[in-house]
Symmetry: C2
Amino acid sequence: MKIGTIYGVGLGPGDPDLLSVKSDRLVRNAKHVAFFRKAGRKGQSRQIADAMLPEGVIEFAMEYPVTTEIPLSDPRYNEVLSAFYEDCAAHLRALAQNGEDVVVLCEGDPFFYGSFMHMYERLKSDVPVDVVPAITGMSGAWTATGHPITWGDDVLTVLMGTLSEDELSRRMADTDALVVMKIGRNIDKVRAALRTAGKFDDAWIVEFATMPNQTVSKLREAGEKVTPYFSIIVVHGQGRRP
Amino acid sequence: MKIGTIYGVGLGPGDPDLLSVKSDRLVRNAKHVAFFRKAGRKGQSRQIADAMLPEGVIEFAMEYPVTTEIPLSDPRYNEVLSAFYEDCAAHLRALAQNGEDVVVLCEGDPFFYGSFMHMYERLKSDVPVDVVPAITGMSGAWTATGHPITWGDDVLTVLMGTLSEDELSRRMADTDALVVMKIGRNIDKVRAALRTAGKFDDAWIVEFATMPNQTVSKLREAGEKVTPYFSIIVVHGQGRRP
């Protein structure tokens, strides 16, 4: 009997026109799709693929049991998430073993801080898994600022807003170009770290990069409003430019 | 009279199936294309677009006057390159001012260490310029290794092989995940820096990511052969994974 393939399909930063030709084809021809989402939400990846999904597609929504309710430092966080990932992987594995291909919809690039990696590691030794790279959210963000991110020999550092303020400021000070992701409730810490590192005035913040509700502004002009988790902060490198 | 638009069209890492839907459409409908290349070569971006270019497309090859013949530290390097970029920009500007759209073919993502940035900065105040982000070469490379690049709170550092060995080793030691680009004749220095940083045994090297001649191996098993300038070295992060 034929074994199906699990496709980890990167959808890119959000604009459906920025899917790769390969991802676009896989989504439009899917019989089964699966996607992660927060309970009660439509799901970002599901939303990006909305107009592309074929009639009659079978959907498997993988709803996170926790996101911010249990602190990362609590051992239960890993236990609960691990059991959840095992359940999701078991469902996908069974589909593939029954001969079905499944397209897992992934925001951004699947191997770059992506949830699909947790499926990949659990499935890759059992069934065929094909990962389709994609445009990262950060590429969408720096393009939206209208300024190149890196020139010449510039060093680029990518930091998560979940790091400690000391760690953030130390690394922010020691790089040419900078991207900070996972902002959301970390925004005040990230602002403070940028100030300590002397980069606050050069920082841009992009919300909903490449999507219809995209906003782009210098961070110092962005005000104090709550910013989404998927916001991206960018500081451009200033390297050699003949 | 209508003014044309200069499109900086990212083509991604090499596989034509990995162009975005938008880039694919722009290339297939181009009347004018322009691209950088080393004199005497076909040009990497021109090669990627080869099977997509429409009949009768007008091609403008922008051939680098120098690449490695003049050392980077010599002031003539910047002078010669700057004059070359001015000439190219003048040609593109004249086309746009005559109402023609031009698709500039760009390997990888245009705003990430891309040559198109030199056109963008010279043209953006004179004519409309539209930049289409793309899958980076490094996304193609880490996907090819079959291992995710970053997990949880991993820090990612992107370094150019053109940096000094001390600078390379210091930064290699102080990151979770690592990408090194612009390898080529810098390979021995990069190897030495990875050894000093204790990361040599964890490093992978990918040549011609996503292309038919792609090779993927652990760096320590790659032998001493000459590796192309566009090779990419990857060390994967080992962060939190429930």
